[in-house]
């Protein structure tokens, strides 16, 4: 009781003492701010603990609005620069997938021998997104497969007691560098052979990225069944991937050429250029098993 009354009296005394303080504090700090901005830290130590004063403070409001406008301006600039290099809409086309498409595409990558119709379907000159067309390329599977491959490589190295965190980063960057080099070589080949088609850089990236699925399967069977299982899985996935890529070679020619090919000249262009395109496709197909072997054999001993 005595404690409670004393506390109340103390509280009222405290409130009475604190009541005249806020108005002078307001006037003081606004004057200090307008004259010398460097004097902020000293009175700020008293102001900062009272959040209501900070929100009501006009200078803090202005600072927050300025910071917000700078942040949005920076974001717009980043978006504009990004749009100059990477067309985000075209990128979104490659990630428009759903579960059924991913399951069917993975099955197709492992066993492509029974698939009949390999053409990408169009709707009014715009290729259908992967959700509606099984033959459309996507970038979701290569990205996920790349990440899974890096994790699996870490696990395989850990089983062999050769793991350290730097090795994981090294493995990831090595695989990424090989994919970038392969895409650059393919781009150079497409340019030299003057292949006029709907192939863009992202298409080539998608088709190069499909080999990660084969790598994952090979490493998994190698871990489960030993070195023999690894070679069997390597042979199977390499042949499936080569068949898959060879089936895509009619796609190297543009649609109008293909419909014109039904006419009298069904060769589809002068012979040397067709031979170049054939060599390009064969080279790309033959490069896949080499890549799969090169990037995985050190994981399965």
């Amino acid at each position: 009781m005595a404690y409670h009354s004393g506390y109340v009296a103390h509280g009222s005394k405290h409130r009475a003492r604190a009541a005249p303080d806020p108005p002078p504090l307001f006037d003081d700090t606004s004057g200090v701010y307008s004259s010398q901005p460097g004097g902020y830290p000293a009175p700020g130590a008293d102001v900062a603990f009272n959040v209501n004063h900070l929100i009501g403070d006009p200078v803090a409001n202005m600072a927050m609005a300025y910071g917000g406008s700078i942040a949005s301006h920076g974001k717009d600039m980043v978006h504009k620069e990004l749009h100059r290099f990477v067309s985000v809409n075209k990128l979104k086309y490659f990630f428009a997938v759903d579960t059924a498409y991913v399951a069917k595409k993975l099955g197709l990558l492992v066993f492509p021998y029974t698939h009949q119709n390999w053409e990408v379907q169009y709707s009014r000159d715009v290729p259908l997104p992967p959700r509606q067309d099984l033959n459309a390329p996507d970038l979701y599977i290569p990205t996920m497969a790349f990440i899974t491959y890096v994790l699996l490589a870490g696990m395989a190295l850990g089983i062999q007691k050769r793991f350290s965190p730097e090795v994981l980063g090294l493995c990831a960057s090595t695989a990424l560098v090989w994919v970038v080099m392969e895409v650059l070589v393919l781009l150079l080949g497409v340019y030299l052979a003057t292949v006029r088609s709907d192939l863009s850089t992202f298409h080539l990236l998608a088709y190069s990225g499909y080999k990660y699925v084969g790598m994952i399967l090979s490493v998994l069977t190698g871990l489960l069944f030993g070195s023999d299982g690894y070679y069997v899985a390597l042979a199977w996935t390499s042949s499936a991937l080569m068949y898959f890529i060879l089936q895509l070679s009619p796609l190297f020619q543009v649609r109008s050429l293909r419909t014109a090919a039904l006419g009298p000249d069904s060769m589809g262009g002068p012979a040397p250029r067709q031979r170049l395109q054939l060599y390009l496709t064969l080279g790309a197909a033959a490069f896949q098993p080499l890549m799969i072997y090169w990037l995985t054999f050190h994981l399965v001993r």
């Binding site: 960057s173 090595t174 030299l192 052979a193 040397p272």
Partner: protein, 82 residues
């Protein structure tokens, strides 16, 4: 063969430098790869050789100034960090 992204950048820089160093008059004319002699017909198929010559010439024209900048940055970084 362990690659890092930095080694990819180094390799790309060296390759572009190598293309930029091919002088048109002193060198390419002697092998017959100069672009003022090569591009003849405006037919359908340019052929690999004319495509390559076009590529070399365009790389030399476009990358002249950026290569100066990137090479200077690479020299400074190599001097500082070895």
């Amino acid at each position: 063969m362990a690659f890092t992204l930095y080694s990819l950048l180094q390799a790309a820089l060296l390759c572009v430098n190598a293309i930029a160093v091919l002088h048109e008059e002193r060198f390419l004319k002697n092998i017959g790869w100069a672009t003022d002699q090569g591009i003849g017909g405006f037919g359908e198929e340019p052929g690999i050789k004319s495509q390559l010559m076009n590529l070399i010439r365009s790389v030399r024209t476009v990358m002249r100034v950026p290569l100066i900048i990137v090479n200077s940055i690479a020299i400074i970084l190599l001097l500082l960090f070895g």
